[in-house]
């Protein structure tokens, strides 16, 4: 018996006949054809968890909306990324997040809130996610009132990048949080301080201590900040680093998520080992 396996899928995307390779997700197909679908928990360098539901689209014949980030294109499917139903769902997801978390440090979400007309003021006295900022070391801080539970940090710590498994989702329902075992402080946990969780966080719930400190001062000034590409000098792998500076002081180091060597992930040295380029006397004193 001969088995013919189609390597291409043709379907309708917002009324346009579209052909993509079999196995392509709706989101990837949209990106290829220039159709915009908002995402939050999706990242090109992580496995889709489709938890935020911001990328939902309408698929004819499906009772519920489907997540574009993880649903593969199906032959003859009729997909609408821009219906009223879709817009309502996205608006509500944004309202839910805005009534729960501090989203002020995520410009992408602010833009979407504007775009979809999400109005948090419709809710009277909604319970919010409140958690004092965890400052446990000199490298990064955790401000979980900003955490939208997108799973990105858990994935990056686990089998999408680092294989350290220092953190997991804990609890259930609205009480769900990202946690080490028994809320153990990070320095005593399995954490190896690769900072890959910080690298993937979409809301700045995880941020460099240097950035956190700088934001506490009146000097924080995004306008004057620059990003410089360089190569990490520690070992022979040659990871690309993006060094973010303000007034010639480093406050953050990232790596591009589409980079062929790093896929956005670094180790503790590349991520945090930049103090040697700045004389210690110039660093602000720290009490922690």
């Amino acid at each position: 018996m001969t088995v013919t396996r189609s390597t291409e899928v043709t379907f309708s995307l917002n009324g346009q006949q579209t052909t993509v390779a079999a196995g392509t997700t709706i989101l990837e197909a949209a990106q290829e054809t220039g159709v915009e679908i908002p995402t939050l928990c999706w990242a090109s360098n992580l496995t889709p968890v489709n938890a935020c539901r911001l990328c939902v689209v309408e698929m004819e014949g499906s009772r519920a909306l489907v997540p574009a980030c993880s649903r593969e294109c199906e032959p003859n499917a009729v997909i609408n990324t821009d219906s009223e139903r879709v817009a309502l769902s996205r608006k509500m997801v944004l309202e839910f997040l805005d009534t729960t978390n501090d989203l002020t440090q995520s410009s992408e979400l602010q833009t979407l809130i504007e775009l979809y007309g999400a109005d948090a003021s419709r809710y009277s006295d909604p319970v919010r996610s409140e958690d004092p900022v965890k400052v446990e070391d000199d490298l990064f801080v955790r401000a979980y009132d900003r955490c939208v539970l997108c799973y990105k940090c858990v994935e990056a710590c686990g089998d999408d990048a680092q294989f350290t498994f220092a953190i997991s989702m804990a609890g259930r329902g609205f009480e769900t949080r990202v946690s080490t075992e028994f809320e153990t402080p990070l320095p005593e946990s399995a954490c190896v301080y690769c900072g890959n969780c910080v690298g993937v966080c979409p809301t700045n719930a995880l941020q460099f201590k240097a950035e956190f400190d700088l934001r506490q001062t009146p000097d924080w000034d995004p306008e004057s900040q620059t990003s410089t590409d360089t190569i990490c000098s520690y070992c022979g792998v040659g990871c690309t680093l993006e060094v973010h500076t303000q007034d010639n002081e480093i406050f953050k180091v990232t790596s591009p998520s589409d980079h062929s060597v790093t896929a956005g992930h670094l180790c503790v040295k590349g991520r945090f080992g930049w103090q040697y380029v700045q004389p210690p006397t110039r660093r602000p004193p720290t009490n922690h």
Binding site: R53, A64, S89, L149, F165, I167, G171, F174, T176, E181
Partner: protein
């Protein structure tokens, strides 16, 4: 040694003992000079023992200590943060040391028990100094207020072993699924056999799986867990899969408020479930079955366990069953207090030792279910129908019910009726007839919650609708799990609605935004409305919250979390009806 960092906390010797008793393999094992099993390979082998391990630790110490959890995690090579994430997912596990050593009383506060004064029972227990947890439905709605007592160092108890036999109406129409329940208690193999037990298995062995599946498809049997998917089609799909390992799973995590049918089946007719699962295994080429029983059903778990032992002793389970070439074994897993684990993919994750969060579908369980293998997953009531079809033939089976909803259905009647209990009736019976069989409504009928918390409200206008899948659907109702909760005019329906909203708020797994936050906002809004008439802004917001939960949640929990509230709005049951 391992590449994972575990806890420095030291386990107690009792904790070591119970964990060692459960896990025979060492964390790292050298099988030959060049073959070492440890780390991820060990985790893949053993991770499904995490949930039983957590139960063992909880039972031993009365809570899960850092030392105990660390030891269990290390033995299983499961990252300790993940083990903590799993433990904190379940209601029955305590991760902080309780103030007292005494038992923990879980007392139901869901609607039926709430109108039967569970509040004063709770107050009484607290006055006596007991620890009380206000629990969601415990599946004992025919004898409210329901309670479940969790005891350190011992067998926790539901009140099911109890005195009151579930009511069966003898004079009624065909008694099929409940024929061995009531006067006869088929908890021993001999009695079960005397009452027709294991005839269907013989038939399945003699005629083969294809015949069984053909009969199921002709019978029109659909799943009784709520989704009503054709059972024969499901079995056929798994039978057609060319996989080395396939599974049969009984979803006995019965947690839908107002539902207790599967509990009664497992307590009173456990061999029937074992037999039907074995037939499923033979029919679809599966050699391993799992029964996932909700953690609060301790009596059911005990009796199912005893049934498995007996069945194995008589070669009704095991290898070459009754001399045939078929092999089949069944393992029991106890849940630990999480409504979401009744969602089939959450249930798989729970068995596998992960947090009980639902998976995205597709892939469906028939393609990738438990441990990623093709899996038949059915409700115990569905399994019992299979025996009925094989023993009496398709024609006889279809003689009851309607063309599109053939056979009989179990209905769990609770609340304001004279004789709450489990009733079997042909599809097509009306609510009015059903209420008459239960001795009528006590007081004036105000509303009926049909299908559980995830169902919808009906009132006197709906009394003559035939209870079939098609007729209820046409009316915007659902049979769901077969729960029929009756509320007379004495009941404050706003309080019932608020409790339902609280139920979903508590039971949402938290994975997706629409359900995690939507259930909270819905509950807050209902509290805000209280007994007032909702404003148009209130109505709009409730409707939009309902829309996003229904349209965009990952699983059925979020998708139905607004259904009862929305139906109450439509019937005008919400807020002060007089104003």
């Amino acid at each position: 040694m391992p590449d994972l960092k575990f806890s420095d906390a030291v386990p107690d010797s009792d904790e070591r003992a119970v964990v060692d008793a459960l896990i025979s393999t060492p964390p790292v094992e050298q099988r030959s000079e060049r073959w070492v099993i440890g780390g991820r390979a060990r985790e893949e082998e053993c991770r499904h023992l995490l949930l039983p391990g957590l139960h063992a630790l909880q039972d031993t110490m009365g809570w899960i200590t850092p030392g105990g959890l660390g030891y269990l995690a290390e033995r299983l090579q499961v990252p300790i943060a993940e083990a903590y994430g799993v433990a904190t997912f379940y209601e029955l596990f305590e991760l902080e040391q309780p103030d007292t050593e005494g038992p923990l009383h879980h007392v139901c506060v869901d609607p039926v028990c709430a109108i039967s004064n569970s509040a004063s029972y709770i107050a009484e227990l607290r006055t006596k100094g007991h620890r009380v947890h206000e629990s969601p439905c415990l599946g004992q709605c025919e004898r409210p207020p329901a309670a479940f007592v969790q005891i350190k160092h011992g067998a926790s108890q539901d009140l099911a072993a109890a005195t009151k036999t579930p009511i069966k109406v003898a004079e009624a129409e065909p008694s099929r699924l409940l024929k061995r329940i009531g006067e006869i208690e088929c908890t021993d193999l001999e009695t079960y056999r005397r009452h027709g037990g294991y005839e269907a298995l013989h038939l399945a062995i003699n005629k083969g799986g294809e015949h069984v599946i053909e009969q199921l498809k002709k019978s029109g049997l659909t799943g009784r867990g709520g989704a009503a998917f054709p059972t024969g089609v499901k079995w056929e799909a798994v039978a057609a899969k060319d996989a080395l390992v396939k599974y049969v799973v009984a979803n006995a995590d019965e947690s839908e408020p107002g539902t207790f049918k599967d509990r009664v089946i497992m307590e009173s007719d456990p061999f029937a479930l074992v037999e039907a699962m074995t037939i499923a295994g033979i029919s679809a080429g599966c050699e391993k079955g799992w029964i996932y029983i909700r953690g609060e059903y301790t009596t059911a778990a005990e009796r199912m366990g005893a049934a498995l032992t007996d069945a194995t002793a008589w070669n009704l389970l095991g290898t070459n069953i009754l001399g045939s070439p078929y092999n089949f074994d069944i393992e029991i897993r106890r849940g630990a207090g999480a409504y979401i684990c009744g969602e089939e993919t959450s249930l798989f994750n729970s068995i596998e030792g992960f947090r009980g969060e639902p998976r995205s579908k597709p892939p469906y369980p028939t393609d990738s279910g438990l441990f990623g293998q093709p899996t038949i997953v059915n409700n115990p009531e569905t399994f019992l129908n299979v025996l009925e079809i094989l023993n009496n033939g398709v024609e006889s089976y279809r003689s009851a019910g309607t063309t599109n909803s053939p056979g009989t259905k179990l209905f769990c009647l609770s609340g304001d009726v004279s004789e709450p209990g489990l009733y079997e009736a042909e599809f097509g019976i009306t609510l009015r007839e059903l209420l008459v069989r239960a001795g009528g409504v006590t007081g004036d009928l105000q509303a009926i919650l049909l299908g559980g918390a995830a169902g919808s409200f009906a009132d006197s206008r709906h009394l003559d609708i035939p209870l079939t899948f098609e007729d209820t659907k046409a009316e915007g109702l659902t049979l769901g799990s077969g729960a029929v909760m009756v509320f007379s005019s004495r009941v404050d329906l706003s309080a019932v609605l608020m409790r339902l909203a609280k139920f979903f708020r508590d039971e949402s797994c938290g994975q997706c935004v629409p359900c995690r936050i939507g259930t909270v906002r819905q509950h807050e809004l209902l509290i805000q409305i209280g007994n007032r008439k909702p404003t148009s802004d209130n109505d709009l917001l409730l409707e939009e919250i309902a829309a996003v939960m229904t349209d965009s949640s990952i699983c059925g929990l979020g998708q139905t979390a607004a259904s009862a509230v929305q139906s109450a709005v439509q019937l005008g049951l919400i807020g002060d009806k007089q104003s």
